[in-house]
Symmetry: C2
Subunit: 337 residues, 2 copies
Amino acid sequence: MTDTGINTSFKRNKRPQESPKEIADKLLAGDRSALSRAITFVESNKKTHQKVASEILKLCLPHSGKSLRIGITGVPGVGKSTFIEAFGCKVVKNFNKKVAVLAVDPSSQKSKGSILGDKTRMDELVTLDNVFVRPSPAGSTLGGVAQKTREAVFLCEAAGYEIILIETVGVGQSETAVKSMVDYFLLLMLAGAGDELQGIKRGIMEMADTIVITKADGGNENNAIKAKVSYQNAVHLFPPHESNWITRVLSSSSLEGRGLDRIWEEIEKYQDHIVSNGFMNENREKQSLNWFHESVKSELIGKFYDRPEVMQKIVELEKAIKENRISSFAAARELLN
Amino acid sequence: MTDTGINTSFKRNKRPQESPKEIADKLLAGDRSALSRAITFVESNKKTHQKVASEILKLCLPHSGKSLRIGITGVPGVGKSTFIEAFGCKVVKNFNKKVAVLAVDPSSQKSKGSILGDKTRMDELVTLDNVFVRPSPAGSTLGGVAQKTREAVFLCEAAGYEIILIETVGVGQSETAVKSMVDYFLLLMLAGAGDELQGIKRGIMEMADTIVITKADGGNENNAIKAKVSYQNAVHLFPPHESNWITRVLSSSSLEGRGLDRIWEEIEKYQDHIVSNGFMNENREKQSLNWFHESVKSELIGKFYDRPEVMQKIVELEKAIKENRISSFAAARELLN
């Protein structure tokens, strides 16, 4: 079996202890198994592992950044995994790129199997040499899960992956988290279903750099054409992208492999566009600073609420608030003093 | 001129110094001018004033809560001020209630004149005895502005006001802030304009307990009837309210005074509904706890970022992030240590 980065943690225990520098060196030389071990450290919540992860990241960061980061979303059932399988194989085999596939799914637990845990849906992709597939990190908060995926992106880039596909669950807030770490956002939609039925919020449609109508095959081609026209009309009414890019609606059949070349062409056009107008760098810098401040805030709040004396005081104050003895704001000030 | 609470700050300087207890006693006896002075303390950012405000609030809180808190929103031009003028007069004169009108408008500066600063639009209302009108507190952050308005609500209640109308600007996030402090949320809409044209987000329509089509007068009655039907159909598709209340679409003419009795009837039905099923108390308790935790978080973050050594370190770390020398997360951890 090719090592795709899944279920490798049991191997790590058998290896002689590696230093962060050794892991980073192998990773930078393109060793997929070292990449996988590095991500395992990033995903761990153990203090000692986090220290190793920090050192590996520090060594890898200067070599990161040389990829196109692509977010892929769509409601369950739209065919995300089959699209990634078909599109990923195309990009590796026809366009000769190294492809990494990651995921952000705060609802998943590794033990329960996350959206990418079901490797059988990516039969061919996971066997290719220039491919790295990693399921969503486990975690209860979206911010934590997304942060780990974001650091995995840097590691994949340092290991030479040129196209990073980040899958999201498509049912809630994870789209926004993924949007905040990618250069390009692809929304998959089904033909013959109103957007209410698909559960996709208008805000998510507005984020999309390209919309792809999936499953344009079998007897479904006419529906796909109609859906293309109607979404293209809707897209015209959306506010313009900061990148000055114009969203187009395309269609594809993962089953028959149709439309995938056209999507790749669109992505290359997009990349040229944002590299030449400076948006790519600007946007990445803005994303990094946002992530920094969001991390500061969430860590600060987390640390504060973790203190036992704070928790005890909160219980008292909540009681006083419920009994109308203190206003919420006064209680907050009292807690902080 | 009747003292409506506007422009009274110059009077305060001429008064002999009052203690918080004296202000609270007068306020609790229904003295409108004392209420106005108390709110001025609440709105002040001066440390000494905040201390006075805390003491007044503490004395008033046990007497607060006995009102129906109503949020009113709608895009600029929908006729919020004329609606409040007509509806407020009706409630005071026909239904014999004491009415307070507050506002949340983070964009306003008192000096520039806020949405309720323009008293000429509420000509009659401001002259009535059982009415208290107060423009939006000044402030740059929505959270800060909303917090002050929320505390003003408690003071108005302690002074005996039974209906609190809280106006929002209707162009952004302030609706959510107002929703989080009211029992009932009223959305005003224009006939003959698609909801895209009105700039009202679907999320705001979903929050509404009642939708009122305004300006159903002149040649506009037919449009209003059509709009009623179409909004009523849209409302059916929304997720149910936590209160189990069913949103109805009504119409009104502030100019001709039509539809206002029906709206009042709807509000009374609503109040009976949420009092009898327990939602009113539950919801207020939940709101208070939310406000408490939101205040804790924003104060905590504010205090942290205010420290000069933190600001200096942030400048350094932002530079390192831009130069790819450190990841956002590692930088956040470094800042917090």
